[in-house]
């Protein structure tokens, strides 16, 4: 977004980027680290490498945003005034929210793969693991990259198969939703995958606490799931400073208009990516597609014009299914994922909602696209911000 703004902001505007970190992570890469497909080195680069020359970069922690005075307060007492603020501080895991999760068993028998540290630690644990009951678990929605837990489950099945350990490992997928797939078309067309791979699903499980000593998850109705190795996706929350600023929801996400991306907090605050509370998927592709409409609306706001109410919730995600294959899904606020071809109707080369080797290669190639195109503010060729219906089998239409 900063690279976009550097090119389009009027000359009399300044551009300041505040980020507490020095290093940028290619977060889609976390998924592959536990299985040794990627190493830590491949998915981190210094933020400074990607910053536009025009931007003033402040690497400090945000204390809060004083929306009434239009000031961002930083650690050490520095105050940064603004005319327009774009919040892009994402979401992070909050294992403290579930009793028993972030205790002495954290990163010993209870792991995450939503942080670099978690993914690297889990890789070591999987390398040494001799088998048993692996439970992959979603604590509560919404979470970043909602398909990632399912991808992890499929990749784990593939990983243990390749290591000749299939007979020593049982895999269970535990979810608060009513199934591993929740949309009718996906459920109909992909439901067989879990059964074929011997993965058990425990649906409608809302965890209340974890008994780390006894190695079991306990839900609000008293149901229990025992594990030997737990890979959980903890509660996801927006940044702490959002809470300190007094304008987040109960999970620190910023109330945001779903079509314009203007916050509902104040007119001169906009929001992009996982930091919003809009009913879109918390996926990197969503943030990318939001960028175009956000850029347009920032320009309109500066000119005093009416904002475009046009973001459609477009998301486009590869879903790894293991054994060198993946699915692709393309959807928005109203259109659920369906089968078809992408991006060229009838040609592909990618297949929607259907496993293929080409989709898997597409997912691996995306790392290059991310570092060399997306982060520098270039568009993905042939993939527009608004979802296209071309090439989709829409016989089952809307959600």
């Amino acid at each position: 977004m900063s690279n976009h703004l550097a090119k389009s902001l009027p000359n009399d505007w300044g551009l300041t980027i505040i980020d507490q970190r020095k290093i940028h992570h290619y977060q889609p890469g976390y998924l592959f680290i536990p299985f040794g497909t990627y190493t830590e080195k491949e998915i981190v680069k210094p933020i400074a490498k990607f910053l536009p020359e025009r931007a003033n970069y402040i690497q400090k922690t945000i204390i809060n945003v004083d929306k009434d005075k239009d000031i961002v307060n930083l650690e050490g007492g520095q105050a940064v005034p603004y005319d327009l603020l774009v919040i892009a501080t994402g979401t992070d895991i909050a294992p403290d929210e579930t009793p028993g999760m972030a205790g002495p068993h954290w990163h010993k028998s209870i792991f995450d793969f939503y942080t670099l540290d978690g993914a690297v630690t889990l890789h070591r644990a999987l390398e040494d693991w001799e088998g048993g009951h692996l439970v992959v678990h979603i604590t509560e929605m919404p979470i970043k990259c909602p398909v990632a837990p399912l991808e992890f489950t499929f990749l784990a099945e593939s990983y243990f198969h390749e290591r000749g350990m299939s007979d020593k490992v049982k895999i269970t997928f535990v979810t608060p939703m009513d199934g591993a797939f929740t949309k009718p078309v996906a459920s109909d067309q992909l439901g067989h995958l879990l059964k074929e791979k011997g993965i058990e699903v425990v649906p409608n499980f809302n965890v209340m606490e974890i008994d780390g000593d006894a190695k079991k998850l306990i839900d609000y109705e008293g149901k229990e799931v025992e594990y030997d190795l737990l890979v959980t996706v903890p509660t996801n929350k927006g940044a702490d400073y959002v809470e300190r600023s007094g304008f987040g929801d109960e999970l620190n996400f910023v109330p945001t208009h779903k079509g314009t991306l203007q916050s509902k907090v104040k007119d001169n605050i906009f929001c992009i990516g996982d930091a919003t509370n809009i009913p879109a998927s918390k996926a990197g592709s969503v943030a990318h597609f939001e960028g175009e409409i956000l850029l347009e609306n920032i320009a309109r706001y500066i000119r005093g014009e009416e904002l475009k109410d046009e973001f459609d919730g477009h998301a486009n995600c590869f879903v790894e299914t293991g054994h060198g294959k993946a699915l692709l899904i393309d959807f928005n606020y109203t259109q659920q994922p369906v089968s078809g071809t992408f991006p060229f109707p009838g040609i592909g080369p990618l297949t929607l909602l259907k496993e293929s080797r080409m989709n898997h290669l597409g997912k691996l190639a995306f790392k290059w696209v991310y570092w060399n195109m997306l982060i520098t503010g270039r568009h993905i060729p042939f993939v527009p911000s608004k979802m296209s219906e071309a090439g989709k089998n829409l016989e089952t239409v809307l959600n």
Binding site: M141, D178, P184, L251, K258, C317, V319
Partner: protein, 91 residues
């Protein structure tokens, strides 16, 4: 109505409809259920995604109370009875 029994238009909802759907879910609606259902509808009208945690922090019912009112999948069942879409992920 969807194949899974969720209303496609909240305008078709009434207390009578809710009572009938609740019976299908083997729930007998009481005075304690209605404020929860109204809360869910209001959140839906404001396009705010619902979670069990959000309901638990609503001040209307806590999470254990929510389970007690709608046992065996409270958000899913309460959403259906309230006439709003099924909570779903993206796939």
């Amino acid at each position: 109505m969807t194949d899974q029994g969720y209303l496609t238009d909240l305008n078709d909802w009434s207390r009578e409809v809710a009572t009938n759907i609740a019976e299908e879910e083997e729930i007998s609606l009481t005075e304690e259920h209605w404020p929860v259902l109204e809360y869910l509808q209001n959140q839906h009208k404001q396009e705010i995604p619902l979670t069990i945690r959000k309901v638990g922090k609503s001040g209307i019912v806590d999470i254990k109370g929510f389970y007690a009112l709608f046992p065996g999948g409270p958000l899913k069942k309460a959403s259906r009875i309230a006439g709003i879409p099924k909570p779903a992920s993206c796939i």
